[in-house]
Subunit: 192 residues, 2 copies
């Protein structure tokens, strides 16, 4: 029992109380249900990996984006999490490949460059023309983008490093834009 | 009573029912309160005008933005409504002048170019280097921007016409960006 509670406590957002509650639930459930949960955990780890090229979650390594010959491998879009890939794919306008950092720099949260998957991004730069930094325009996302642009330019000065636009969201009235967003929308204006 | 109801019904968002309710409120209120309301309406019209240069609401004509010698008159920022000026002023980064259209093109709503204050924008172009189209990234705002860029380039091809950036708002996670916004954020990416 103590062993299960200790293991459950390692999960994000699960404290000692929640871990105890979950462990008691397992204790009360049928042997089949307990076996199903254990099996699902084991199977997930046995069948899903992180792509060795881009760190996306995948059941084959390298992942389908990295092996798709139609996609442009000279353009790498850097995102925080695997779920961000779906957000960008939905636009149906991006045809390059991806690189998943699995987080953002956060000095307060104890996340430094070593905790992110930056090392295998650097090894991919030799083949790249452009790196699009598509981290969120949050404090952590901006700090991560600033760190990466310096690292990439130090390693490969010829690479074009770009940042996605911050601005007024499509369909929204500028009346509802906060001043930072409005300021960035004005700075980022483009000739039409 | 019918005359007041008819006048109140002309206000935006006030139907017959609301107009009746408001009229009854006036009927029940003291003569002083009714006089104050009538006086405030009369005074507003007597003391506030639209600036003859930029169409902003003002108590002196031309308005304080148009007569401020520190502001850059070669840059004109076109907005939909007078309230949008406050949104842009809050950024403390814009030093040009403004032009208020008082609406957006809306074929369904019966608003064509003649209903907007475009004529006195065209007369200002001779002195301008850049026109920033800061209409909202809504359907109507985009249609208005497209119409204006054609008109401005026809009249003065040398003018740089720019559009504010559409993108992920500052502080927001890209996870919550809809596909049109994400698509525009990718298109509008800039080298850093």
């Amino acid at each position: 029992m103590t062993r299960l509670i200790d293991e459950l406590r390692k999960l994000p957002g699960i404290g000692t109380k929640s871990a105890q509650r979950l462990a008691f639930h397992v204790l009360r459930s049928s042997p089949e249900d307990a076996e199903k949960l254990a099996g699902a955990i084991r199977e997930l780890k046995a069948s899903l990996y992180l792509c060795s090229i881009c760190n996306n979650i995948t059941d084959v390594d390298p992942c389908s984006y990295c092996t798709n010959s139609v996609r442009d491998r000279q353009t790498i879009c850097v995102v925080e999490e695997p779920t961000n890939i779906a957000t960008i794919e939905k636009t149906r306008s991006y045809t390059g490949v991806y690189h998943v950092l699995h987080g953002t720099l956060s000095p307060i949260g104890g996340v430094g460059p070593e905790q992110l998957r930056i090392a295998n991004l650097m090894t991919r730069l030799a083949d790249a023309d452009e790196v699009i930094l598509a981290t969120s325009p949050t404090t952590e996302g901006e700090a991560t983008a600033r760190y990466l642009v310096d690292e990439i330019h130090r390693a490969e000065p010829r690479i074009r490093v770009t940042r996605i636009a911050t601005g007024v969201p499509a369909g929204s009235d500028i009346e509802y834009a906060d001043e930072v967003t409005m300021s960035r929308a004005m700075e980022g204006r483009r000739e039409i």
